[in-house]
């Protein structure tokens, strides 16, 4: 299949756009594979892509119960950044951000990666000290971070009410290399590139059971029959616990709701990503013109993919505190996704108690930015049956060993992370 390019758009335009082919095949499942990846979100598709491109393992199926990219991949607010504090996390997320920076070339697909800058506002001395500490930790690991004062925030994002009577803005932690990407295109791009390397992307194929013999995985049962493989990787976001229950073990995960909102479209208003420090609110503007915003968890476990109004009210009122001009706008749509929350807020990319079964899970509300890094590390772990040093700390066993990766020090409360 010829690749995508500016030249091709030109020639197709002259030929009535008759030469475009679907970006990936609709594959039917074969009886067996070398590796099965469960879940056709960004993480599952990225795992398959890196298995093929980095490790030469191309006899791979991605099994998706619905259509690819319609889980959290298509529901998130698309923020990409690597502004974490703990070295285990910031090294991993920085690796992921570097993969993002070259992703369009590696996939031959426009994922609309836009490094427009991410600012976390702070409003008091304690928050400022925490931001300085996190910024310094990033810089020690070679990651870009800057502290803006009030005037710096005002210059970069004039619409923010820096002199808010109740929560004046003292400044912000800025990562200029952070930004946003087009969520659907990320799923489609990984699907396109994985398919081009021989991976089967099987949609409408729900995994309903695990075939385990002598403590080792042999394959999975699905709504489209039994499929065998000596290695299976789980990348099912909020559904991880239901899949591990099929394999006979529990994991430190509770599934929670997170909502997102989009306003009516308007002219360019906000050209970076800004997060509020005095309430749960963050915002960016999509290329279509809608403001894309969100806040915190609804606060109780749910697989329902829909939130309730108290959280919506909080998000809207925090938004109007930060940017009073938003009060003139209408909300257009809102929706929710299911987050696999962990007791320390950090993910799992690891082996499991079942030989040959691997997982990338526990992404909480921050897994979109991790998509390439998660796929890359998951693929490595599957191919070598051992973690890469970047994900060596992200195990299921870390709590037993007292090695939590708790960025915020919130303790073992899934809903507080």
């Amino acid at each position: 299949m010829p690749g995508y390019s500016g030249f091709r758009i030109l020639t197709e335009g002259l030929r009535g756009n008759s030469g475009w082919k679907p970006a990936w095949r609709k594959a039917a499942p074969k009886p067996s594979y070398d590796v099965i990846v469960v879940g056709g979100g960004g993480h599952g598709l990225a795992t398959a892509f890196y298995l093929a491109s980095e490790h030469g393992i191309t006899n791979v199926a991605v099994l998706e119960r619905g259509l690819i990219g319609q889980g959290n991949t298509g529901r998130n607010t698309t923020i990409v950044r690597s502004n974490y504090m703990l070295p285990e996390n910031n090294n991993f997320y920085e690796h992921s951000l570097k993969l993002w920076e070259g992703l369009e070339q590696s996939l031959n697909y426009n994922v609309m990666m836009s490094q427009r800058g991410v600012i976390n506002l702070f409003h008091n001395e304690a928050q400022k000290n925490a931001a300085l500490r996190r910024g310094n930790s990033m810089r020690l690991n070679g990651i870009d971070a800057e502290i803006l004062d009030r005037d710096g925030v005002k210059a970069m994002c004039p619409i923010v009410d820096v002199d808010n009577g109740r929560y004046p803005v003292m400044g912000g932690l800025l990562q200029r290399r952070g930004g946003t990407a087009r969520h659907d295109a990320v799923a489609w791009g990984f699907a396109h590139a994985a398919d081009a390397r021989g991976v089967d992307i099987v949609e409408h194929c729900e995994v309903t059971g695990m075939i385990i013999e002598g403590g080792a995985i042999q394959g999975v049962r699905t709504t489209r029959g039994e499929i065998r493989a000596p290695k299976v990787g789980l990348a099912v976001a909020g559904s991880t616990s239901t899949l591990t229950a099929m394999a006979g073990f529990d994991v430190p995960i509770e599934t929670h709701l997170l909502q997102a909102f989009v306003s009516e479209g308007l002219k360019p208003l906000i050209d970076c990503v800004v997060t509020f420090g005095a309430g749960h609110f963050y915002v960016s503007q999509s290329d279509k013109g809608g403001l894309v915003f969100g806040g915190g968890l609804d606060g109780y476990p749910s697989y329902g993919q829909r939130g309730t109004l108290p959280t919506a009210e909080h998000v809207y009122s925090a938004g109007v505190s930060m940017i009073p001009a938003l009060g003139r706008l209408r909300g257009l749509r809102s929706w929710a996704g299911v987050m696999d929350m962990t007791p320390d807020g950090s993910p799992y990319i690891c082996k499991t108690p079942v030989q040959g079964l691997y997982m990338t899970a526990g992404w909480c509300y921050g897994g979109f930015k991790a998509t390439p890094g998660s796929g890359w590390c998951h693929a490595w772990t599957i191919a070598k049956d051992a973690p890469h040093r970047l994900n060596a700390a992200h195990t299921l066993d870390r709590f037993r060993e007292g090695r939590m990766l708790d960025e915020r020090g919130n303790g073992p409360f899934f809903w507080a992370q």
Binding site: S241, I253, E254, T255, P301, P310, P412
Partner: protein
């Protein structure tokens, strides 16, 4: 909006309550080993269906309540005080 019927205060909106975790895990005794405490603190069934949960009525009587709630429909089926037991349907 969830409505939770508090046995002490009557039916109230979810904003008066805070979810406080899975109520089916029990704290091991003082002789429990690391494994038992690990499982109690960290491992969760996380069912897609009925779950018995702790909710604190912090905007009312402030007591901890057991609530039987469905994690897909969000239906609240039964509420009890902390010392009572709630059966999970079909369990």
């Amino acid at each position: 909006m969830l409505r939770i019927p508090c046995p002490h205060c009557g039916a109230r909106d979810e904003v008066e309550f805070i979810y406080r975790g899975d109520a089916t895990v029990t704290r091991p005794g003082p002789d429990g080993d690391v494994g038992a405490f690990h499982d109690y603190l960290y491992l969760r069934r996380n069912p897609r269906g009925w779950q018995v949960e702790w909710w604190q009525h912090n905007g009312g009587c402030r007591t901890f309540l057991k609530v039987l709630r469905h994690t897909v429909t969000h239906e609240v089926r039964a509420v009890a005080t902390a010392t009572e037991t709630l059966e999970v349907p079909g369990a």
